[in-house]
């Protein structure tokens, strides 16, 4: 009982987080290599070597940082990623936290991620990090609504806010087909919550690294780790709500989920490498004026589809 309900799910989540973060690093490097950004050395070893280097580098300190917040922000971000992944059901029974409102809890993870990323940039007390933090808030407060509408869309046919129910409702047809607008919109949310690629407004090149520009050594390792973990958590959620989670023939459920997560990760990482960063003002307008109405359409579509 304890083993099945407590230890096994916990171990699964922690392992998935660790291996997933590593896989993100490897995958991103392989993609970069395929796109012409090759790096010496083996792709498998590189993330570890990079991690080792960050552990040996000394941690930078700014003149008067908000100490607690600065050191806590990466940890909290990592924790949010773990919470997100804990909501993902690996099979009908193997799920760490099967709340009746896990969809809403994932929404709060996104909202709290905004807080944490802001805190990371704010507490450094450095101009460029500050700009990165505020830019990210503009983005974070914009994509959250899209995410909510899209997720409510998937809750309609499931008649529940529970991820396991959402998966169960996809037994006949996956949501990615049933609500074709949903997954593309949700992927944008994924890029936002991990400020990846085109939505990397927080740690961008024109800010010399933005919120991370003053961070070095172990705290930076924690930050990068958390960011990769957040991508993993997001891909888990996306696979659950749109790609039918553990459902699938032949293979065991968890394996299906892992495969689907890989597919989502691949899409996100590719988008991250192929698209340029949006200017913040464009980004906000795009989110509110184009993507939000699109998510309305998605919701109406989902509603009609659920009733028919």
């Amino acid at each position: 009982m304890i083993w099945e309900q407590l230890v096994l799910p916990t171990l699964t989540v922690l392992l998935a987080l660790g291996i997933g973060a590593y896989a993100v690093a490897v995958l991103d490097r392989l993609i970069a290599g395929a796109l012409g950004l090759s790096r010496a050395g083996s792709a498998w070893l590189a993330p570890l070597a990079r991690g080792a280097w960050l552990l040996t580098q000394s941690a930078n300190v700014t003149e008067a940082p908000d100490w607690q917040a600065w050191r806590l922000a990466p940890l909290l971000y990592l924790m949010l990623a773990a919470v997100g992944l804990a909501l993902v059901p690996w099979s009908a029974s193997l799920v760490a936290t099967d709340l009746a409102t896990s969809v809403v809890l994932w929404g709060s993870v996104e909202a709290l991620a905004t807080v944490v990323i802001f805190l990371h940039g704010w507490s450094a007390n450095a101009p460029l990090a500050l700009i990165g933090a505020y830019r990210y808030v503009a983005l974070g407060l914009s994509y959250i609504l899209i995410s909510m509408f899209v997720l409510i869309g998937v809750a309609l046919p499931a008649e529940s806010l529970q991820f396991t129910q959402v998966v169960a409702s996809q037994a006949e047809l996956w949501n990615v087909i049933r609500q074709p607008l949903g997954l593309p919109l949700f992927l944008i949310v994924g890029l936002g919550v991990s400020f990846w690629g085109p939505l990397n407004l927080a740690d961008s090149t024109d800010l010399a690294g933005g919120t991370a520009s003053e961070v070095s050594g172990p705290p930076r390792l924690a930050w990068n780790l958390a960011r990769a973990a957040m991508l993993v958590a997001f891909s888990g959620v996306a696979a659950t709500v749109f790609l039918g989670g553990w459902l699938g023939p032949w293979l065991p459920g968890p394996l299906w989920l892992v495969l689907k997560m890989f597919a989502v990760l691949l899409a996100l990482l590719l988008a991250g490498r192929l698209l340029p960063r949006l200017s913040p003002e464009r980004c906000v307008t795009l989110m509110w004026v184009v993507l939000l109405p699109l998510s309305f359409v998605d919701l109406v579509w989902a509603g009609l589809e659920a009733l028919l």
Partner: protein
């Protein structure tokens, strides 16, 4: 039980994160002042960075607060949607219409631009 699992996961992650940061950060002494100055490509700031920061998108944030409140109503609504059928659909239509009016109005007033 679910919450306990969640709590344990959070705790473990927190400890793991601390374990990554703590030993090295503890051991080292504070860096020199020149190192601690914010990086500006060799330049220096006049003042601390913390200031009354002019958030250029503040009307958008206020709009969001009002908007988000409506989401509070939408989640329970989603759960009983199929059960209530067309009535819920109409309800949603009305809600989305209201929201759209708000957004279109705000857009027309240039709320989503940098003030």
């Amino acid at each position: 039980m679910e919450l306990l699992t969640l709590f344990i996961i959070m705790l473990v992650i927190l400890c793991a994160g601390l374990a990554v940061q703590w030993p090295t950060v503890r051991r080292q002494s504070l860096p020199t002042y020149p190192q601690r100055a914010p990086f500006l490509g060799g330049g220096l700031p006049d003042t601390h960075a913390w200031n009354r920061y002019h958030v250029r998108y503040y009307p958008m944030t206020l709009l969001l607060i009002a908007f988000e409140m409506e989401m509070m109503f939408m989640y329970p609504w989603a759960v009983v949607f199929v059960e209530k059928g067309m009535m819920a659909m109409m309800e949603m239509g009305m809600f989305l219409a209201i929201l759209s009016v708000g957004i279109v109005y705000a857009w027309r007033e240039g709320v989503f631009r940098w003030q």
